[in-house]
């Protein structure tokens, strides 16, 4: 794991976020330094917006959000370089028609020679035993394969942190398990937004969102129990 010399991983102070004239996050204050953070909450509770703040896809309307020590508003580029993002639907994340081309995309802007880029692509695919998919057309892959390709395309950039926005929602149980164990094996900092509560059992800390506010912040066991009680009432 990357050590940050005592700096917090996430540091939100008084963060408000307005989207389409609607306030979706209210006065968030949270500081974390754990390896794996889970984020849960009902639909529309603000957790996806929270995730998008973590790599600068959105920036706070008011307040200050620091990720890995960088202010999201002022150093969006640096934050993006260090924070990878895996979306719910890999079909929207994979933009090139062939697997290897897509994984290479992020490297293209970095002045890395072509041969080296190719080597990196093969290395990352071998790591997940997916080398046989290298020259496949993306259209022909299964949902689980697509999600693993999306993750590979993020990992090849060597981020320090990866944000997952409901990565298992569209997967069958078998593929969900593959993605889950891959996430647990990552050395990077992880923030995982999910409705799949079991995924979080071995996480270090879980935040519960409700109507744009953090209403619980605890160990997975406690936070999930609280969330279940709340959803039942």
């Amino acid at each position: 794991m990357v050590h940050l010399e005592g700096n917090p991983v996430l540091e939100f102070s008084d963060v408000d976020l307005v989207r389409n004239d609607q306030k979706v996050l209210h006065n968030l204050n949270v500081t974390t330094s754990e390896h794996r953070i889970g984020v849960i909450g009902a639909n529309g509770s603000g957790k996806s917006s929270f995730a998008r703040l973590l790599n600068g896809l959105l920036v706070p309307t008011n307040g200050c959000a620091k990720i890995l020590g960088h202010d999201v508003k002022q150093s969006t580029k640096e934050v993006r370089r260090q924070v990878g993002f895996v979306f719910q639907n890999p079909d929207n994340q994979i933009v090139y028609p062939v697997v290897s081309e897509d994984i290479e995309l992020g490297l293209k802007g970095m002045n890395i020679p072509k041969a080296e880029r190719k080597a990196k692509v093969e290395e990352i695919l071998s790591r997940f035993n997916l080398l046989h998919l290298k020259d496949r057309s993306v259209h022909m892959l299964s949902g689980g394969e697509k999600q693993m390709i999306a993750l590979s395309s993020v990992l090849i950039m060597q981020p320090k942190m990866i944000v997952f926005d409901e990565p298992t929602t569209l997967l069958d149980l078998r593929n969900r398990n593959v993605v889950a164990s891959t996430i647990m094996a990552l050395e990077q900092y992880v923030v995982l937004v999910t409705h799949d509560l079991e995924l979080l059992s071995a996480f270090d800390r879980v935040l519960v969102f409700d109507e744009g506010r953090i209403t619980a912040d605890d160990s997975p066991k406690e936070a999930i129990a609280w969330y279940k009680r709340k959803m039942a009432s």
Partner: protein, 199 residues
């Protein structure tokens, strides 16, 4: 969905750089309009037919490759004959048929990625226009290729869903949701691109 006409082979036409094939085609088409001598025109047609044999186009591909373009050439030659005279009709036929056959030969001997690289180089002098930066052009072309099968599948899904509800095939009821769903997806795709591109 097979998205390529490329014919594997080892001929000179396969090996020629893409730009030279294009230069050849342009030269050929300019030369055609300067020539009125049927002896030369017939010789040229014979030469391009020999070229088809030389690059070893399999018999079963011939129809897909030439049937429609040549049918159109024939149609327009007849048109020219009717509104002008026999001479004009024959000129049209010999000029266009050899040109179309030559163009088809270039198409089947050029890999799509080679052609795309050629287009990107061709646009290089225009790269001062923001949209025509080589990286942007290549990204846009790839994105389109990536999403053609997806959108086609979406169209088939919409048709199926409407058929399941007992609705008759109606172009408006198909195209409206196809476009709306695709435009809505653009948000997610551009978010994902922004998250992944570092420049």
């Amino acid at each position: 969905m097979d998205l390529s006409f490329y014919l594997h082979g080892n001929s000179i036409l396969h090996k020629m750089p893409t730009w030279s094939k294009f230069a050849l085609l342009v030269a050929f088409s300019i030369a055609f309009y300067a020539i009125h001598d049927f002896k030369i025109l017939i010789t040229k047609l014979a030469l391009v037919i020999l070229l088809v044999v030389y690059i070893k186009v399999p018999l079963k591909r011939l129809k897909a490759m030439f049937a429609l373009p040549l049918f159109m050439v024939l149609l327009f030659s007849i048109f020219s004959f009717v509104v002008n005279d026999l001479n004009a009709g024959l000129l049209t036929f010999f000029r266009l048929s050899s040109l179309v056959i030559l163009a088809a030969c270039v198409t089947v001997t050029t890999k799509i990625e080679d052609f795309m690289a050629f287009i990107e180089n061709l646009l290089l002098p225009l790269s001062f226009i923001p949209f025509i930066k080589p990286a942007t052009v290549s990204l846009t072309l790839s994105l389109t290729l990536r999403f053609i099968p997806e959108i086609f599948k979406l169209g088939m899904d919409i048709k199926e869903a409407q058929a399941a509800r007992g609705l008759k095939s109606n172009p408006i009821a198909l195209i409206v949701p196809l476009i709306v769903l695709t435009l809505k997806r653009a948000d997610d795709i551009s978010d994902a691109l922004d998250a992944r591109m570092l420049d």
